[in-house]
Symmetry: C2
Subunit: 216 residues, 2 copies
């Protein structure tokens, strides 16, 4: 998102904003609270998630450098429907919502960029929805791993996903129990599709994973 904004617009936004540093694990915003700002991720990785009564965490979305966060609540005039926290040390640009809305109102190009962003999110959500409803947990796990790789890229070996998640977080992404995620990771490992070492996951056979992700 950040890279699609022209310099002029960006400096308008920046002049009203400040940067904020977030330690790994700390919260950027809380579900249910009213938004006062939107956030551009300058550096780092964050997760957007909801927590149910039983304390299980469902991860709705992931954010990396360049991504915009918190706009859904601001645009809809709602409270936050998710919480956001840092997966690693991160820096965000805090843009007061008035500044954001002003720019939106006066800059048709920016406004169209936001529409494109919303559209892309919606397509992504619909796809995810169709998948959750009819794919097996196994297929969804394979898909999640590929999405993680696409979103965060690989380390220098070209195979290890460049993000560190707990098994619980992986389960929260897939929408399953932690134990099931562990067992299925193990199964994919036995099939030679991936290798794990601690929290690092190496995708050894991307084509095989893609095939697995398309099973029902």
């Amino acid at each position: 998102m950040l890279d699609r904004i022209k310099p002029e617009t960006l400096s308008r936004l920046r002049s009203a904003s400040h940067e904020q540093w977030l330690q790994k694990g700390s919260m950027l915003f809380h579900e249910g609270k009213n938004p006062s700002d939107v956030y551009f991720v300058l550096k780092g990785k964050l997760k957007l998630y909801t927590t149910d009564q039983q304390g299980r965490e469902q991860i709705i979305h992931l954010a990396a450098g360049g991504d915009l966060m918190g706009y859904r609540a601001v645009l809809g005039g709602d409270s936050f429907s998710c919480s956001a926290s840092a997966l690693e040390d991160s820096t965000v640009l805090v843009v007061p919502k008035e500044a954001f809305l002003n720019v939106l109102d006066s800059d048709a190009e920016f406004s169209f960029a936001v529409i494109r962003l919303l559209t892309a999110e919606l397509r992504h959500a619909e796809h995810h929805l169709a998948g959750l409803a009819r794919k097996s947990v196994r297929a969804r796990l394979a898909e999640v791993l590929l999405i993680l790789a696409e979103k965060f890229g690989y380390e220098t070996d070209g195979e290890t996903i460049a993000v560190t998640l707990t098994r619980e977080e992986i389960a929260g992404l897939v929408g399953t129990a932690t134990e099931t995620a562990i067992r299925l990771l193990h199964a994919l490992k036995e099939e030679g599709l991936l290798a794990t070492s601690g929290k690092k996951i190496r995708l050894l056979d991307k084509v095989g994973l893609r095939r697995t992700s398309e099973d029902l």
Copy 2:
């Protein structure tokens, strides 16, 4: 959506458009095709759905009078990610995409209304997503029934949902097998939460259904 457009903008759109009548069961657009128009539902009810390899249908969205359809593909510059067909005889206003995009570009108010619409859709999709991932099929069925009632309203008795869906379509909304949907409808009936007669469903205990929809 239609009701939030000012008359002036509406007549601009209308002047470039034409109406189309759709028989129950006929298609408005097909997944994978390129969009040439967006559609305002003037009368009737439609479903938006994807079909998987096994021929199972997952319903992504429902549309009633006043709703806008097909804008996701047009705004994203994509092909349609869903198919749309009429649940009953319907009439739509066919707006060529150029006309739609022109108005969007020149009318900031309309543009903001579209942003609000996208935002609302996104919130809806996220909520649905979180629910699909962690609720039981039983809870999701109860929720779907309440959503249907909210979307399409009741018949004159104030209890019968004003839309006719096959069990297969209900299963497609919930994201389950047709047989499971039938069994769970039966269970909810035994508990006195609803009554069925053919394809008509009467919600007898909305509070109870709400409670059921919030179970895990």
